[in-house]
Symmetry: C2
Subunit: 144 residues, 2 copies
Amino acid sequence: MTRENEFELSTFTPYLLNQAAEAQSLAFASIYRDRYGMLRTEWRVLYHLGRYGPMTAADISAAAGLHKTKISRAVRSLEQRRYLERRPNSEDGRSEYLSLRPPGEEVFRSLSDAARKHEAELEHRLGLRDARTLRRLLLKVRAL
Amino acid sequence: MTRENEFELSTFTPYLLNQAAEAQSLAFASIYRDRYGMLRTEWRVLYHLGRYGPMTAADISAAAGLHKTKISRAVRSLEQRRYLERRPNSEDGRSEYLSLRPPGEEVFRSLSDAARKHEAELEHRLGLRDARTLRRLLLKVRAL
DNA sequence: GACTGATAGTTACTTTTGTAACTAACAAGG
DNA sequence: CCTTGTTAGTTACAAAAGTAACTATCAGTC
């Protein structure tokens, strides 16, 4: 009953990308979610501040490619957890400089470690050669 | 100022997977969204019915790996657009058989065509060799 | 220094998703 | 039949994300 040239979703690249991304995201998301009750955007904001130091919400928005409302909400949430603090930007009264507080730094280190481990594990299970190829192809796809 | 062994999100495989998936999803989603105002789950339900013929919500749930509440909502939405119809299942009073109506079949064919074109285009831009490798690796990742 | 347009960030509103609770129908055993 | 437990699907509620409108500040111009 299956027609010859029928379209197969199960081999459709965007679908496979989603499946693979979801599987991997779930695996890593459970770490920042279960350990710290954080959302993906919150982890991303925390990461940028931890990795590159103090910056404004607009800086994060540009660097992470996230919409400003997402940043705004993530910042408020991280602030409430005492992970970051705001200090006025003397150059521009509209914005504030955001920086991690010690507990935030701590969480950043912990999650960075977990991410490194996660990546190493994936690389191991995939094999170094395939892992590298995959990264290269994903970059290529994203750039299309 | 950049420390040596610092974790780099931009080379983190789950992150790259998400980026690539998002880029590709957005590209294809705009088709069913803009053309027919459909959501991803709706397209998936429509696909299963169009590709494999009438089945129950539970069948779709199992085949597509989608939660039953998602199916329920998608089915109602597709029904309101007159894309599908329900008929009682004489074997089991709790469930109904779902099948596409002519307009639904029409949309299914149109979207299948669009998907085929999309895949061909991607294959062309990526090169056949890389496209195949990518699919292989994505399957491998999903299976981990 | 008032007017115009742009920018940083927040708030309000809407849509979508996730989760849990619920109803109805089934199935098996007493 | 009448309990007990399971399954199909819907509904209700809560969390999250998207979009638009808003406030405040800035920068340049007249």
